[in-house]
Symmetry: C2
Subunit: 370 residues, 2 copies
């Protein structure tokens, strides 16, 4: 675009020699990452962050249109969602003199998931969701992990099958993505054209196909029959590794695939017992997508008091989760839910390789700039 100016007024000068980004030069995303206070001024980050804003709005609107109540689940919590990850602990900074040992009287952590709090709310509202920051104190430099990231989580009452849950998950992915594509086509195109060539076609392929469904048991069989040499030998009862997830997605023709019914022994106490055997499973589901791997995780929850009581007792958690048992004691309904990693979602639709480039201010081991 050319402008013919009749008058030019400099509102705020910029010393181009000191400015770290050069005029007309396309700097690698990794270089831009050194300047978190300036990189949003580039075309690339500008587009990515506008897409992030549109995707946020699209997700809120998907849930609102479908009658979900939005819940702000707490950030500081005294429960740890049963080992979903390594925790950050929170205490008043040393400047403050508190007579007590803990500000909150109990050890307090940053949330790793809003699920248990959403389950509280699903006893009052039929459908609830939360969309907020979650935290993992993992010493990881991976291109798919952050210490602070955003999760979209939903919980639905009166859901009795994984099918119903998967329908909402696929609906969320496709509806939100279609909204983003129609609300900021130029920003998406910039990413697809200059950052991730070929991503436009890969995304269209995901959107036009029905997502696939295989059981964990089938997945292990597929992996066993493959000619690929895996670092971790696939075996029933063992977690799927990234290399396995990648293989499965490729095996499924790069269409997102739900893997369902995982071994009970691998999963936390709250997932619903399928009462099968001898390969005992729970009603859990993960969605694997091209380029990213696990994007969603979900399950039916164990709504039956006595099943849950026994699972908690076996893990020695009965006392800690008395309040959670209460939810089943005072009017319980079948329910289930899921969580989606928001940054991984953005990576998946835009084709951005490193998760640090889809969040305004990335936090990870050794880095908390600004």
């Amino acid at each position: 675009m050319e402008l013919k100016a009749e008058k030019i007024e400099v509102v705020g000068n910029c010393d181009a020699t000191a400015f770290p980004f050069k005029y007309k030069e396309r700097h690698p995303l990794e270089y831009l990452r050194q300047y978190p206070h300036l990189r949003c001024r580039t075309n690339a980050l500008g587009s990515i962050l506008r897409v992030r804003s549109e995707a946020t709005a699209a997700i809120h609107s998907f849930f609102k249109d479908n009658g979900f109540v939005h819940i702000h689940t707490p950030i500081i919590t005294s429960n740890d969602c049963e080992g979903a990850g390594e925790l950050f602990q929170v205490e008043p900074s040393s400047k403050i003199k508190m007579p007590e040992e803990n500000f909150f009287n109990v050890p307090a952590f940053l949330t790793v998931s809003g699920q248990l709090h959403l389950e509280v709310m699903s006893g009052a509202f039929t459908q609830v969701f939360t969309f907020g920051p979650t935290f993992r104190a993992e010493n990881s430099q991976s291109r798919r992990h952050l210490a602070e990231f955003y999760m979209v989580e939903a919980e639905i009452s009166f859901v009795e099958s994984l099918q119903d849950l998967m329908q909402v998950m696929e609906g969320l992915f496709k509806t939100a993505t279609m909204m983003v594509l129609s609300n900021c086509p130029e920003d998406v195109e910039l990413c697809h054209k200059f950052i991730a060539p070929g991503q436009k076609e890969r995304l269209e392929h995901m959107l036009k196909n029905n997502f696939l469904i295989i059981s964990y048991t089938e997945a292990v069989e597929i992996l066993k029959q493959s000619s690929q040499n895996f670092t971790f030998t696939p075996e029933w009862g063992v977690d799927l590794h990234t290399e396995h997830e990648k293989y499965l997605v490729k095996h499924c023709g790069n269409i997102p695939v739900f893997v369902i019914n995982y071994p009970l022994a691998l999963k936390p106490f709250y997932m619903r017992d399928n009462e099968d055997g001898p390969q005992h499973t729970v009603a859990a589901v993960d969605l694997l997508v091209p380029g990213v791997g696990e994007l969603f995780g979900g399950s039916l929850r164990e709504e039956r008091y006595h099943f849950l009581e026994q699972r908690l007792a076996r893990s020695g958690l009965t006392e800690t989760y008395q309040w959670y048992l209460d939810l089943r004691r005072f009017g319980s309904v079948p329910h289930g839910g899921f969580g989606m990693g928001f940054e991984r979602y953005l990576q998946c639709i835009l084709g951005i390789d490193n998760i640090k480039d889809v969040i305004p201010f990335p936090r990870f081991t050794h880095s908390c700039i600004l």
Copy 2:
């Protein structure tokens, strides 16, 4: 409403003798607070939390409709927004063995405001907003304070007067409230009828009148001329106390009132110098509302490099805020912004006396249940 049932199926039984809420009894909100995992099942909390959900959607939609880009400002941060409040510090829980002293290499805190990060973004997008949790480690049991609460913050480029800012603040309050009233009238009515009689009329009074504007200097004069005996004697150069705020709102006929142009010495380094004197002020604004007191705080930001440089140097902060100076060094524009306490907003429209009743899981000194 009466239902004529042909068949009754009990999905999940409830032991009514053990259930802490009695059938047909209206329990005080304070009593309900003891059961954060069950209170959402009462009519009162059900209505309040549905209103919270609608208000969240209304605020997002106000900003989206007005062209603002939504930004997730970071929760964990290495800056402290220049003493906006007492901080919580974040560290990996003791379970993790890290060779380094700090996970992030620097001391890391929970955010007290997203403002400075929004200012980064206002250098790339003309209008930005954030709506997320903020934290204060204050040892307070007040009915207006929480350790974890939500703030709506906006930053607008090319704003050159407080008038323009106040117009957005008043627009946000009135538009969001009208949307809430039209989207969940029954829930609002329940609160107005059973929890806060008279609040309906008080709210209508706020909505139909133009908000008032007085200067800090005028406010101090009004307080000095009042016949009321204040605990803290009003005086130019001293902060307004809650008792003063209450008096001013009453004096203004219970219409929300903007107080503008505060003493420079009372305010942080980033507020724009009015270059007046001898009573030297900055372009700051607070909105005081009936029942709650301070609901919004905002200011024009010091966009002039040399003014900011001197203010920082005087506070010995030049090194810490070099990145913030950079924002003025590489293309600066006049800008300003504001923050609104979301729970106080809900208190204000619903007439809820205690802030702990408008958030799903309140966190405050000595309390972090679930």
